[in-house]
Symmetry: C2
Subunit: 324 residues, 2 copies
């Protein structure tokens, strides 16, 4: 596999590289990241990585990479993906996400080369449609309810035009909530896991301040998700959009209870209404039949195992912090 990965220093990229390194086949990766050089140090026997710090909005630079490297695939993971940040800076998030994406599309179009792009999106584009559509399908109407979700819905619409009118080979995902080791603690499950391990070690009082945890989410392990991305690159149908999800809903409150039980800690949960998000969707559960039919993908890691691994990761991380 010869692949250009955007957002190489991010959480999902790290797991995608892990996936490549577990495979027998040789892989050649060029990775771009605006923020930092990837610190990935996993087993890289079969992977050769060139790691570039660059802004995705530089089309000429991208065209040069495409001309020199000629990837078969582009995995577009770079994104301002914090909903919280998108409420604070709607214009910045919207413009950044769309301009990066458009720059990639135009660079590929102008290169005249046959490169398959996987554009990773979000279940957030369904917005309020999800409240009334249990096991929401890809055909449901889009009602994005936060600026981040609008930025990704716009990308979807533009991708469709590039597929239909310019013949660009694009596959898109609507990825539901996914989590695992290395995720930034701004994301809710990472935040819970970190705090609970700190509480377990007596490094934090046994009080957990949360946002709204009386909501239902469809959770996947990031390792299942990157497996879906690899299958979509190889087997997905050009122009199609795929839910990437477990197909099951769970209350965030119950996830928190599972974590407490694993760690055997008791905490006082304090929901803080000032942390509740505007436009929060009550319940979102996806239907994953389409990706199963087209690629054979299905999730393989249980929620219990995912949570165990997440807590182990944060146990290590909080040791490091503590030893500093």
């Amino acid at each position: 596999m010869k692949i250009l990965i955007t957002g190489l220093a991010g959480f999902v990229s790290r797991h995608f590289l892990n996936l490549l390194s577990e495979k027998k086949e040789d892989s050649f990766v060029i990775g771009i990241d605006r923020n930092e050089i990837s610190t990935y140090t996993g087993s890289l026997k079969q992977i050769k990585i060139e790691n570039i710090k660059s802004d995705l909005k530089d089309k000429e630079f991208l065209k040069k990479i495409i001309a020199d490297f000629y990837p078969e695939y582009i995995l577009h993971l770079a994104s301002s993906s914090s909903v919280f940040k998108s409420w604070q800076h709607p214009a910045d998030v919207f413009i950044n996400n769309n301009l990066s994406f458009l720059t990639i599309l135009d660079a590929v179009k102008e290169s005249g080369r046959n490169i398959r792009i996987l554009s990773t999106g979000t279940s957030d584009v369904y917005g309020i449609s999800a409240n009334t559509n249990p096991h929401i399908k890809e055909t449901a109407a889009l009602h994005p309810a936060n600026p981040y979700a609008v930025s990704k819905a716009s990308q979807e619409l533009m991708a469709k035009v590039y597929v239909d009118s310019f013949g660009i080979d694009i596959i898109q995902t609507r990825s539901f909530t996914h989590f695992g080791p290395f995720q930034n603690e701004n994301f809710v499950l990472a935040k819970f896991a970190k705090q609970l391990t700190l509480i377990k070690k007596g490094l934090q009082p046994p009080v957990l301040t949360t946002g709204n945890i009386d909501i239902t989410r469809d959770l996947s392990d990031v390792r299942d998700v990157v497996n879906a991305y690899e299958l979509l690159l190889k087997k997905g149908k050009s122009g199609e959009i795929y839910n990437v999800c477990s197909g099951k809903g769970i209350h965030l409150r119950d996830v928190l209870l599972l974590m407490q039980k694993k760690l055997n800690v008791d905490v006082e949960i304090k929901p803080n209404e000032t942390l509740f998000r505007k436009g929060e969707i009550q319940s979102i559960i996806g239907d994953n039949e389409k990706i199963f039919i087209d690629t054979g993908w299905q999730p393989t890691i249980t929620l219990e195992k995912s949570i165990e691994d997440l807590l182990d990761y944060w146990d290590e991380q909080t040791n490091k912090t503590n030893n500093k």
Copy 2:
């Protein structure tokens, strides 16, 4: 009426100013245009205009105008509205339209003032939905099929978030094809009118090269359209989206025949497939019940009258060209 108009030098603004000048009430207008100072010289008894050449993407400047002038209304007409240009420069058109709009929204939000915004959009957001929905309603699914339409669909989605979560008072239109004097000849009916008057005067051979004219459009006179905008500003329901359309469909080929008949000229029509647009919609006819119910608006100018006035305008314009 105290109003900030964006795109003041444009075709629709000119007719909106005409409408204000026909009314008895005093109006105060601040107009912004990126490209040029408005050359409007109509009767301005009741209007005081301040005419500013500025880029809409300068938020601090906009905030200053809002603080100093404190408009009741913003009529947002500025837009890269050429579909043709959007195929050539998708990213530029997309970013320009959305960044301008977001800058206005954020300037209003940060001002903390109660200002009603009318954001004018396009029936192009329906895209292929229109082929299977005769008399398309505002509730139809959006399937924009060109980059300009995607840029406007994205604006709609973002406006909804600003209404629902920031309480900004926004009304949106999906304006169908409208035409009239002063429209740029890049737009199809202006182009036909100009060429036919040149042919009539023997200044051009009697051959008209066209794009695809075997398509059905819902045509309105721009004077009816600006009347709709004024009614929507005063009576529209906050957060709502309105079709602005005649409710009737006509073949472009028949419009061309009407023009020829009025001028009493015979021309050879040469459709040129290289001028056919990608993603062209075969037929689009709107339903205007919603705007009628909420504001009482209905079109008042017949197609025959609109065409007559358009031909008169181009008759004058082509005299000027000829005399130069």
